[in-house]
Symmetry: D2
Subunit: 322 residues, 4 copies
């Protein structure tokens, strides 16, 4: 399979380049970059083993590809996606431009008018645990956001039992999630030995989480999402606080029994998934960094009548390029 990466020198493009290079069945077609065209991968990312030079984007250069990964910022990605799809290339888009099914939401949440609503309609949401079949046949795959991946995988097995009350998603992400642009926010001295919440209400990923969790639940589920910035390079840990399931448990004895039952339900739900592991311990970021794995566990807080689901992923692999 011949693959190209459009916008290959951001973090997601960098990780994609590395993964595709190592993949035994992939041949690299074109790596495009505005800032680094004419320079080699080895020069820009000396820790990577991949070979190749960055070229300027030009659809003609990508034409020979079976698949193209688009790693542009939101709003900038969708015309390129459409252009490549029109040439018969399957496109996997890592931006937000095809994640939301209701095109009106792009204006509300991302501030741009979507020019290709019909392409949105036919695209698949690229979370294989939920949409494996759709992904296999789609011309355009909208890769999920990093936070939504961690949140949706945490909540999915319980979605049918949600009573409509709010699902709280408290997530903590490594800095690579903020991208490779050097800003005050990503300066070492701002992040190191520090910690903060940001976009405390209304982070754009909230909408995406609500869309998918509601779809799973079969009803509208409100989501309250709080992201935080960790002084680590890679990884997201999410705690989902879910009300419904624990309430259902009220008559069923002690928290330990209910917790065991939930763990088994999670194990059963994900038993055929190669990239989700249900574990009994509280997983940490180290366990999934540099891997495509999501680890998840469940705790019942009987006294408070709550279920806590803890999930960890690598934001750049399972959460993006993986």
């Amino acid at each position: 399979m011949r693959a190209s990466v459009i916008g290959a020198t951001g973090y997601t493009g960098m990780v994609l380049t590395d993964l595709l290079w190592r993949h035994p069945e992939v041949q690299m077609e074109a790596l495009t970059s505005v800032s680094y065209r004419g320079r080699s991968v080895a020069e820009v990312f000396p820790h990577l083993r991949a070979e190749g030079m960055y070229v300027e984007y030009d659809p003609a250069r990508v034409e020979g590809s079976d698949v193209a990964f688009v790693c542009y910022p939101h709003a900038e990605a969708h015309p390129v996606v459409a252009e490549l799809a029109a040439r018969g290339i399957r496109v996997i888009d890592l931006s937000a431009d095809f994640r939301l099914r209701d095109v009106a939401l792009y204006e509300e949440w991302y501030g741009f008018t979507h020019a290709y609503p019909e392409l949105v309609a036919e695209s698949a949401y690229g979370l294989p645990e939920l949409y494996r079949r759709e992904i296999a046949g789609a011309r355009v795959v909208a890769n999920p956001g990093c936070y939504p991946t961690s949140a949706i995988l945490a909540v999915a097995p319980l979605a049918k039992e949600l009573d409509g009350s709010v699902v709280i998603i408290d997530s903590k992400s490594g800095v690579s999630g903020a991208g490779r642009n050097a800003t005050d926010r990503t300066h070492f001295c701002s992040v190191h030995d520090n910690f903060k919440a940001y976009s405390e209400v209304g982070h754009r990923h909230t909408c995406e989480m609500a869309q998918e969790i509601s779809a799973l639940a079969g009803r509208s589920v409100p989501v309250s999402f709080t992201p935080h910035l960790l002084p680590v390079d890679r990884g997201i840990l999410t705690v989902a606080y879910v009300k419904a399931a624990a309430e259902g448990a009220d008559g069923q004895g002690c928290g330990a029994d209910w917790q065991e039952e939930l763990l088994r339900r999670y194990e059963s739900y994900y038993k055929d998934e190669p990239f989700v592991e249900v574990v009994r311990h509280a997983p940490n970021l180290r366990e999934v960094q540099w891997t495509n794995m999501c680890r998840v566990t469940v705790r019942v807080d009987k006294v408070a009548g709550l279920v806590k689901v803890i999930s960890v992923i690598d934001n750049l692999v399972k959460g993006a390029s993986g």
Copy 2:
């Protein structure tokens, strides 16, 4: 004022030694330590400027003190507190041994039978924002836990409006909160570039938070608490998810108005408190590290019908020795 520190070489004792040494009205009486007796402060903590030698604990050596700080682990602290209080010394206890008003809870949560229930009854919970007057007159002051300080200060101004539904406390702490003992858990390679939740249900501080928040609310309030371990040295950031207040807001227009009203209520509640600052931005740990300050802000998530309160403290200063 003459002051002694009992168990002065743990982190809380170390910070106390530093604070007392700099205090213009304090004269140091005795610094006790089992492991380091006979050694100087400068030798054990080369970054401190304090002078003095560690001596073995002996009530006679402490007798001349006006006040003694006891920095022993729970269960080990209360006999020493009682012994010193009996000699007429005012005692500030940094352990958990006098924090819970219902003595039966020591058995349930801490695994020991309290030998001095009458001293518990007369002791004050050492959070000056709530118990300034009681503290001023008490023989024994029970300094709050670090997590409870961050949680209680976050929730207090809203406590009267809680509708009895669960208060969710999601807290993230620096490693110094785990104490100075070298363990697998505090090994640099375990913590660095990593992040995890621990004691995911039933952390001992849950009970203390519920006690104080319920006292403020005037009714029993269930608390669900999840602590996490940050790869930072000092600081706690807590997000409190509170239901009641936002519900009360439903008829009152947009979230922004309600948020402004809440911020003003917080400002008013803490207007005379020198160590709590209500801020408009999302505060980070850097802003409070090495200080006795708690910074707090409020956000209304109108869509989800929730209030989020974010507080930050230094776990060793405002959260312990400050």
Copy 3:
């Protein structure tokens, strides 16, 4: 004393603002900033307690000051320094623009032609341990570079005995030394969990070190300097490898004796200096971070015929604004 800070929103300006604000005998006149004019200190640096607004630079606004600190990049600083000095204000320049006595060197090392050679001639090199008297009387004080401060204080007590062979300075600095500008180099993900040497030969501070060490030695001393970037916020640790002294020791018995003699010589050399502490242990960065202290120790490597001097400072305090 009335003080102004010109360019107050870089790291050195930020630390100066904090130090001046706390100083009981200083009154703040003007804080200037291009990027942040019209904004408050509290807004730009929420962890500082200083009050005040940033204003645009205008010599008239600074005129009432007894002293002005100029925190501009090299080449941009010297016209401002000259302008303020001409108005009778004492100027402490934190750039490199007055550090080198031979004005031809500005072209060679910094790429600009110095417009005020006569002001260079009358300026003092602002290391009080060497030039206390000159500083007291100077109109313009050229604050030393951070690396030179750590290197010169390490080598000074041995300078008279240097035999002309090369002095090796191997220094490791925290990221704040690279300034507040957000670049690839200061991005958290570049620095964190990483380490590297940079400017491996010919770093600009080499020239400044050689100038001052040669002046102390009374002969030309070649210096080989290697800086490294540490994944820490603040601090420089320097190891100086010095040949001469150990050779002089050859006939004098074992290394331990010679080391003791050297330590005493260092203690004697710095005995009246409030900001240099000679210690017996190997000092670490923690001991000096946020302080104006330099800690230094000496080791004799008898087998190799070398003296190693280890010094630590906070690059932003003793190494800049302190």
Copy 4:
């Protein structure tokens, strides 16, 4: 090939377990551990994918192995190595017990009397770049220390030209080099945001470096070694300051020419080595972490008459288990 790891739960054993598990031609025989016997790899190291249970050490259990890796502390390793070698198993020892050729040095540097001097005599020093043939035939291979690996690979191509003057090795290591034992020294709060030199003179690896560099030089070469502790998990960066080569360059024009010549010599020296890469840029730790690669570059400091060689390795892979 069947392989066993003796002492498999320290850091070197952990990395070995991971590497052997992934190796397509290796079958795991026994993993022994005193502290964790009866527990699974997954339980002790949840981030590893390897399967298997830890068993108590017993030579009978290891007997079926073609090769055994011994990961015991120095002094404890050599009897086990001898015992297994006597049973015809090839042994790769990761301790220091077979690294020094002169058995008297074990007493001087490590404080124990070596019980198997004849095994020392026939063992090979396990640095394949220098002793590939000897390693292939040896019953016992003494894996080099982490610091010596980084220093010897840096200096080897210049060894013939050393003029007998001291070689200075200034190395900085991640914390995993200090082992998995939890101590004050490895506590997160001791290391994080901090940096220090330790064993400032006379670190045990000095002796091993001098042995190998002298062997390469064909004469006794004094080595002065200073290790430092970095707040990173994995990696060693070494700067070797070498005198002789630069002196030879004196008459040969500018430093740039000489540097280019040296780089080519390094490239030629290592051209057939799969695990040493000579690079033109200053390599950082990130480039080699989790790999078996050593990256090395050379700089000529013409003014100072010195060559600086910079090398980076992962202390646990190329520096130990790789």
